[in-house]
């Protein structure tokens, strides 16, 4: 009797199986990257440390209550006006002598900040404030800083600050990164982001 050869396995459904797997991985793939507002928290300190004394004129208080309403410098304000108010405060440049601000274009109001290095924005929120509102307020305050930094960077180096930072973080940027870093440092020294957050009120 002739030797029977082993029957060949039908490989026709192999493609189906592979397609099934392919579709599974297609669906589960996420190529998006997260983005968000980066902040640095202050280090933990014991309770008994005396806070430094800061002149009232250099503090810009933003209060958010549990109904998501804003109280800015003891006046009620809409969120849409916050950015402008913050820029006005930072850019005031009311200082004289050592504290004078060489680049400020503000109103030089004697009751507002002396210069951007001294100016502090203090954000106090309530425990009942919604997170969305808090982020919106943070976003507006960061935007105020960015607006000023952009203006100064444009004036001094002919390039906006956000563009400079973008180039600096871009691995494919083929300019001089050290020089760029120096420029960024100059701008951040001129307009430091001094955003203080107090413990929430309950």
């Amino acid at each position: 009797m002739a030797k029977r050869s082993a029957p060949e396995v039908n490989a026709g459904s192999m493609a189906d199986i592979a397609f099934l797997l392919l579709i599974f991985f297609l669906v589960t793939t996420t190529i998006e990257t997260d983005s968000g507002i980066s902040r640095k928290l202050p280090p933990w300190q014991p309770e008994d440390v005396e806070p430094p004394v800061i002149k009232q004129r250099n503090i810009f208080t933003v209060l958010v209550n549990s109904n998501n309403q804003l109280l800015v410098e003891d006046e009620e304000m809409e969120l849409s006006e916050l950015r402008e108010a913050a820029v006005e405060f930072l850019d005031n440049g009311g200082g004289t002598g050592d504290e004078a601000c060489s680049f400020c274009q503000g109103a030089k109001d004697p009751n507002s900040s002396v210069n951007p290095q001294k100016a502090i924005i203090s954000l106090v929120n309530n425990r009942g404030t919604e997170y969305g509102t808090y982020i919106a307020v943070q976003n507006e305050l960061v935007a105020a800083y960015n607006e000023l930094r952009d203006r100064e960077a444009q004036r001094m180096y002919g390039m906006s600050f956000t563009q400079m930072e973008k180039n600096y973080n871009d691995p494919n940027y083929n300019g001089d990164k050290d020089a760029l870093k120096e420029k960024i440092d100059v701008i951040t020294d001129m307009i430091p982001q001094k955003l203080s957050e107090a413990e929430p009120t309950s």
């Binding site: 490989a11 026709g12 192999m14 493609a15 592979a18 397609f19 797997l21 392919l22 991985f25 297609l26 589960t28 793939t29 996420t30 190529i31 990257t33 997260d34 983005s35 968000g36 507002i37 980066s38 902040r39 640095k40 928290l41 202050p42 280090p43 933990w44 998501n68 969120l79 849409s80 929120n125 309530n126 425990r127 009942g128 404030t129 919604e130 997170y131 969305g132 509102t133 808090y134 982020i135 919106a136 943070q138 976003n139 507006e140 960061v142 935007a143 960015n146 413990e199 929430p200 309950s202």
Partner: protein, 160 residues
């Protein structure tokens, strides 16, 4: 009558699909390599707020995720509707945040520890009380670099 009569056929021969699996497998391997699986199954509602002054978070392996929000529908019977923290795959209390940070640090290489960032993925309807509590714990654990993860968009949409 010959045994070896050539079959007479005028039809076109069928195109061989034998190499189809190879092509598909090639695609499959590409997607398998490129896939980043969702690390955590979300047990909470997580609608992120909008912001436009954002920075990108690269280097996924250097990020620790903390989620917070209302428990999603299927867990509400068990855990209620009060906003909660989720670490890895389970609900956690505020006190457990520190422990979580320490164990995450433990799992990373020593020279990478200063670059670790904590990403806070918090639902936009959560109260700030919970977020502040998390921030206090992070300060105690000396995890000072944080990022409020947001969706890129106009921040005014948050207050509507």
């Amino acid at each position: 009558m010959s045994k070896f009569k050539k079959k007479k056929s005028g039809d076109l021969p069928a195109i061989s699909t034998a190499s189809l699996p190879d092509i598909v497998f090639m695609l499959l391997f590409f997607f398998m390599v490129a896939t980043v699986m969702r690390q955590n199954t979300l047990m909470i509602e997580n609608k992120l707020p909008f912001a436009d002054q954002v920075e990108k978070l690269d280097k996924k392996d250097l990020i620790m995720y903390i989620y917070a929000g209302k428990p999603s529908k299927r867990y509400q019977a068990q855990y209620g509707t009060e906003a909660r923290i989720q670490l890895n795959d389970k609900f956690a209390s505020v006190e457990e945040v520190q422990q979580f940070i320490y164990s995450e640090r433990e799992s990373k290489r020593e020279e990478l520890i200063p670059y670790l960032t904590t990403a806070l993925k918090v639902d936009e309807e959560t109260n700030m009380g919970l977020v502040s509590d998390i921030k206090q714990e992070l300060r105690k654990a000396e995890a000072l670099k944080i990022n409020y993860t947001t969706v890129v968009g106009d921040a005014m949409q948050n207050v509507e």
